[in-house]
């Protein structure tokens, strides 16, 4: 075991896979010699060569399109989109091509690509470096969507994503690259090294896609969340002294519906938290699923805590962010009768 932050864990996962499989190639803007603007690919070009890890033109359409072609050849490209906010020029290649190639060719051609992309806010990135577009991809049939919340999970999930024979969107919550974020933005950030989830094996290991993680067991309410918000939810729950069961979904598609159902049927209450905008966000899907499958076990309406339906603001970032106040209010509402 070595102590790693999330960047180092992702770098280690890429390194392991490049060493194990000659078909794994890493590419993207600034990922080669420089090692990526967040350093996720640092050292990979030096170690594995320019053919295996290289810089690309600033063209997300080209990056994804070329990856689809490389995958059709039989390689396993791991393209990086520098910020999730930049992914839109590559959308047609993802939605119409990567996602549907297996289907339309009756499995003669597949797109075993893993698109890595830092996403989410809380870093004063303004409206073009803070977005959480995951629900655009969960809506597309044929794409898997994975979002880790710890260094340990990030590496294990990334390796599973790269080995998966379907295209995977791998969104990395960049706010927690260096340490978990509790949502109390005025308190100092603690580095990952202070937390057990930073114990990451240097060797290859996997965490299966489609399996959620119960990060805090509880009886009073089920909280469904992922990414940065896992840590915020945990902190607010502790502060409010609510015996919540916090579920880190880890994979949005395919979703671990069994774990969700089991938990909500036990607690009878469900709070959904994500940083992404509210309308048609993944929370809407979760809410519908819980209602469809657990209605007769529910003792309170399902609550959603999300970002507002506005572009991500710069100066008012902490007014926008679905932090402790918004979550606390929802918690009080949903478990109020238990605690009052």
């Amino acid at each position: 075991m070595t102590t790693m932050n999330m960047i180092e864990a992702i770098n280690s996962g890429l390194d392991n896979m490049m060493a194990r499989d000659d078909d794994v190639v890493v590419m993207g803007e600034d990922v080669g010699y420089f090692g990526g603007v967040f350093r996720a690919t640092a050292g990979l070009q030096e170690k594995h060569g320019k053919i295996r890890c290289f810089d690309t033109p600033i063209s997300e359409c080209g990056i994804i399109g070329v990856s689809v072609g490389m995958a059709a050849y039989g390689m396993r490209p791991v393209p990086e989109i520098q910020f999730a906010d930049y992914i839109y020029p590559g959308l047609d290649q993802l939605v119409s091509e990567a996602a549907r190639l297996r289907y339309r060719s009756a499995a003669e051609f597949t797109s075993a690509i893993t698109v890595r992309s830092p996403f989410g806010g809380g870093i004063f990135g303004g409206q073009t470096h803070s977005q959480s577009p995951e629900s655009m991809f969960t809506h597309v049939c044929g794409l898997k969507t994975v979002i880790p919340s710890t260094p340990y999970d990030a590496k294990g999930l990334l390796i599973s994503a790269i080995e998966d024979n379907d295209p995977v969107m791998f969104f990395e919550p960049k706010r927690i690259y260096n340490g978990p974020f509790t949502g109390y933005y005025d308190k100092p950030v603690e580095p990952w090294s202070k937390f057990a989830a930073s114990d990451v094996p240097e060797d290859y290991y996997k965490i299966p896609l489609g399996k959620a993680n119960i990060v805090r067991a509880g009886e009073a309410v089920t909280i469904l969340t992922y990414g940065t918000m896992v840590h915020v939810a945990k902190a607010v729950v502790e502060e409010h002294g609510v015996d919540a069961e916090v579920i880190d979904l880890r994979t949005l598609v395919p979703l671990d519906i069994e774990t969700i159902e089991e938990s909500v049927k036990k607690t009878g209450r469900c709070l959904i938290i994500h940083e992404a905008t509210r309308t048609s966000g993944f929370g809407a899907e979760l809410s519908a699923l819980v209602q469809e499958r657990c209605f007769y076990h529910l003792e309170a309406p399902i609550e959603r805590v999300t970002g507002f339906d506005t572009p991500y603001p710069h100066s008012l970032e902490w007014a926008y962010f679905p932090g402790p106040v918004r979550i606390g209010e929802a918690l009080d509402k949903i478990v109020g009768e238990l605690t009052s």
Partner: protein, 429 residues
């Protein structure tokens, strides 16, 4: 700051919206279309610096002259057998297109697209490639499949979306796919295959393979971002690829001017990227072959990508859903100055003394007969809209390698609905 007052003397700005020269009923005069003399075009070495061959993007490589003789340095000097095979393949494609187009009109399928007049741009091009080079076609390159020996009956099964359709009835007719024959799955979204082809070529180069990639799109699709992304990646990584632009003058009802064709050639796009560009008479099968052969050798010897513009004409409608009589003059086809690729090759072979009018008539009959047989064979497997040809669970397969729970649930629902909606339907297969 510019002087505000000076503005008052300026004429008002005006917006240019391109307009084709001829609309329905207009007499057509092509005298302004520059057709260079066959044989006049120099043939650079395949390792030439693109900067030294820029004239080629405005010129037009032509091998067959007005007397149907071959001439000039681009003459690929093909054997009689090869030329006869080329002719027979193009004739077969045309016969296939004619019959399948009629079958759509008869209600046996939903859609068809002919390649009439453009057969050389896929048949001659595919013949100049190695059989294991990878093709990323657009939707009008059925000729490649004929060159590579894909059975017509399999093509028709796909067109009918019947129970033997290898694509399980999922794709619009003519959106073929054959991994075995190096024919990539056709998308339907335009120019998306361009960066994919470049990616495949990059992978081939990265792996030290010897295979190259070729891709095709229409002149209209060169306006897509994908085209330009592909050109950028191709030049940056010196990808072993041939990028074909089939300039058939029309993108449904939009003439080439809406893709920038009023001001320059499509081959000229290559110059801006530092890529070798060749403009070729797309209705001259020997010129198409020669240009492709040149580009293939260039790619295979690590000299990088080539953009080839095939100057041709879409002789028929865009698809069965289109009526070109509503937007262009019928005379355009009749007057087209580059003629018809099959007629030109036929006359060349007659001139050569290895072919005759009678033999050609016999060939046409043979081609028609072969399509008829294939069609009858395919019809035994069902036609679109008559019966349920695929088990409903196939609708949910191949979305992912393994079917997740939500698709299993939806598959069960589809099968439940089947019992209600089609209680008497025979189980397929």
């Amino acid at each position: 700051m510019a002087d505000e007052n000076s503005k008052t003397n300026l004429p008002p700005l005006s917006l240019h919206v391109p307009e084709p020269k001829y609309r329905p009923g207009d007499p057509v005069d092509y005298s302004d279309v520059e057709i260079p003399k066959a044989g006049d075009q120099p043939r650079p070495d395949v390792n030439s610096d693109p900067a030294t061959m820029r004239n080629m993007v405005y010129d037009m490589v032509r091998v067959l002259d007005d007397d149907y003789k071959t001439t000039g340095p681009w003459d690929p000097k093909l054997s009689d057998d090869t030329l006869l095979k080329m002719l027979a393949t193009m004739a077969q494609v045309r016969a296939f297109d004619d019959r399948l187009h009629r079958m759509q009109r008869q209600g046996k399928t939903s859609f068809y697209m002919k390649s009439t007049g453009e057969e050389a741009t896929s048949v001659a091009a595919a013949m100049a490639l190695h059989s294991d080079d990878m093709c990323f076609p657009s939707y009008r390159q059925q000729g490649i499949l004929f060159v590579r020996g894909y059975p017509m009956v399999d093509m028709i099964n796909q067109i009918f979306s019947n129970r033997e359709d290898k694509l399980k009835g999922r794709q619009l007719p003519i959106m073929y796919c054959s991994r075995e024959l190096g024919f990539f799955s056709i998308s339907g979204n335009l120019a998306t295959q361009y960066p994919q082809a470049v990616g495949w070529a990059m992978a081939s180069a990265a792996k030290g393979d010897t295979r190259i990639a070729a891709t095709w799109c229409g002149e209209g699709s060169t306006a897509e971002g994908d085209f330009h992304s592909a050109m950028t990646f191709a030049t940056v990584y010196n990808a072993p690829i041939i990028m074909n632009v089939v300039n058939n003058q029309w993108a449904i009802s939009s003439f080439s001017g809406f893709a920038g064709g009023e001001r320059t050639t499509f081959a000229a796009r290559a110059a801006g990227y530092g890529i070798a560009g060749i403009r070729v008479d797309g209705n001259d099968p020997l010129a198409v072959y020669a240009a492709t052969q040149w580009a293939a050798e260039r790619a295979r010897t690590n000299n990088g990508p080539t953009l080839i513009e095939h100057f041709t004409y879409r002789a028929e409608a865009h698809s069965t859903s289109d009526d070109p009589g509503a937007y262009r003059s019928a005379q355009e086809r009749e007057e087209w100055p580059l003629g018809d690729p099959i007629t030109r090759l036929k006359r060349h072979l007659i001139h050569r003394g290895v072919w005759s009018k009678e033999q050609h008539e016999a060939l046409d009959k043979k081609c028609i007969e072969a399509v008829k047989i294939a069609t009858k064979e395919a019809e035994k497997n069902g036609i679109l809209g008559h019966g349920l040809h695929q088990p409903f669970e196939t609708m949910f397969q191949d979305v992912f390698e393994e079917m997740p729970w939500h698709l299993k649930e939806q598959s069960e629902q589809a099968n439940r609905e089947r019992e209600i909606k089609w209680p008497d339907a025979e189980a397929s297969k």
